[in-house]
Subunit: 268 residues, 3 copies
């Protein structure tokens, strides 16, 4: 645990020093908030989704963030192009399968991205992540699952099947590559009251992947950092509006030392 | 009046309990703010505009919000598809004809949506609403109208013609289905100083329609709730930035009891 | 200097009185923030990018803002249509070449807009602006340039070549039409910590162009006003979140008298 706490501080320090460019192809709801979250963390966000630009742009990036929140067929094409190029270049990709399992378009798009590119980390809630498995993997059905804990055993299997790292967020977050399982207990109850906290977590995982080649460690330390900022903001907030603003301030003002002391990461 | 005040509290309580899914096909300017407004109110927002997804998505929704603020021809197709499906399923639709009367594209799109789907409530300012009538209905021309009061008589006729409920917002809001006329005097002078307050009002009407089958009562109670939150936020704010943030906090922290006491609704 | 300070106050007063409509075809990241910045300043923003609507919309506008931040081929078409119509009508255009020099698509789009429309002011950072010149004009290459000061001499030449006014923003801003050179030293170190401050500066230049026919004076006074608001907000802020919100409050609450006293404009 203290290893990952130290690593959280180290990763944050590296981001603040190297200011990695994070290329986002993301949804229209959270573009502004995601860019501000990455800037406050210390990374350099770029949002670019034109099919005839994404391959060039991802060449400059330290990581690629794909988020299917307001998907269209044109977006999917751009995501696949950028993702294939990132795969060729060996650049880490993080996928946010927003709404996978809800509509056929979203589930299919997420699966296609997984099939055609090398995704380092998938970040979603339990339902979204488990929708990416086949029915056998999902076992009793996603609707019956209420917590990260219940999703844990299935997630380990699914990570092995998909050969990637899963980051399932909820009151307690779980990160697994099918071998290692890490839980992160940082966070605050106001986090789900604003739109885009999940998407922000995904983007921060992108920033951490740009400086940390181990997907499990990158995802776990990113979620610890984000949860610590959420807690700091939650204490200051009177509701979701002030929470959103205090969250940006917290991401910006937290030091590596602050973060190291507050990590609640458990290796299971 | 006290009936509608009680109804405001009751509708808010129902939203907080059932957390209805509100499907928004809305403009790019306000997507984030609208989602946060719905979350703070207690509803579950989803923003989805892909033509090959909207029919499936609206099937899960308690109401459909159509907003033509940054319209393109592709958006119009998605809105019509979602709207026709919502009509088949008997799900309430609220339309925000942003900029109707300003350009031919917008006026035509709003009229097409009205012709091909069953819209429960149209929410706009006086000019936008009256642009939906023909020239005879509009009488002396929309540019000559400066207030909800002046628009009142025309609005009653127009609601009958369009066979829907009109919600015209301004310093005093007016809701009419051509028979009943209700005025709502809640609100604050800072509300028009940020972008998307009108769009937010429309989305909240969507949330109220998901729990209240009477369009006049749903629209009037939604506008009272929103205006009460605006007043609470306005008292705390030093300008439009802090107002926007305090508005989200107010929507989240107001209780049904608070709301019932503060309603300024008059049945004319 | 005191002339431009007086002019800053005068332009702000004219915007607050005449509330010019500013037509923005801008990127999805900053649409909401840009609209709120224009409202707080006193202008009337409209965001409209549909190819079959932009010519009609720009007819109502006092200025046109073109921003290539999340460019696609469809956007470029709309920008050219709107830009050509604005040129015919003699309406001022301000261009923000976001990311010019980074990808071929963006550099080409910016150059095409410059070739086919009459742009009054281009606002960008040093790298973006210098990417618009050919290699000879750019001299030792944009990557070697670190400050507005270093870009100054090249900018004067480039303004002459492009026959437009350049507004290069940074710790000190520089405005030149190839003859006159003005520096603006207002601003705050938190300004680059949120996304869209550059885009907001561009939009405010649009509002000032709507009331001031001299592009150098319009750009310089707009940047002074924006920098003064940034400074006021920075003093109140605990990080980028609170800065963003205080910036909107400052734009709204600053009076022409406040602004006139605080201008740090130097004519070189």
């Amino acid at each position: 645990m203290s290893d990952l706490a130290r690593k959280t501080a180290e990763n944050l320090r590296k981001i603040r020093t190297s200011k990695p460019l994070i290329h986002n192809i993301t949804n229209f709801v959270v573009m502004n908030f995601t860019a501000n979250v990455l800037l406050a963390t210390g990374a350099s966000p770029v949002m670019a989704h034109a099919e005839n630009e994404v391959e060039e742009m991802v060449g400059f990036a330290g990581a690629l963030v794909l988020n299917i929140g307001t998907l269209t067929d044109i977006c999917v094409k751009s995501m696949l192009k950028a993702g294939r190029r990132a795969t060729e270049l060996g650049k880490p990709i993080v996928l946010d399968p927003v709404g996978a399992g809800a509509t056929a378009l979203r589930t299919a798009a997420a699966k296609k991205i997984l099939a055609e590119t090398k995704v380092s980390v998938i970040r979603g809630n339990a339902s979204e992540i488990l929708a990416l498995g086949d029915q056998k993997a999902a076992g009793k059905g996603v609707d019956a699952l209420h917590s990260v804990e219940e999703a844990g055993a299935i997630a380990v299997d699914l990570a092995r099947t998909l050969q990637t790292t899963l980051a399932i967020t909820g009151p307690v977050d779980l990160v697994t590559d099918g071998e290692r399982v890490v839980e992160i207990a940082n966070g605050h109850r106001l986090m789900p009251t604003i739109t885009g906290t999940g998407c922000a977590a995904t983007a921060i995982i992108g920033a951490f992947l740009a400086v940390d080649p181990d997907p499990v460690s990158a995802a776990a330390t990113a979620l610890a950092f984000f949860g610590i900022a959420g807690k700091k903001a939650g204490v200051m907030a009177g509701g979701p509006g002030t929470f959103m603003i205090q969250l940006l301030d917290a991401l910006y003002t937290l030091t590596p030392e602050d973060v190291q002391q507050r990590c609640l990461i458990t290796v299971r």
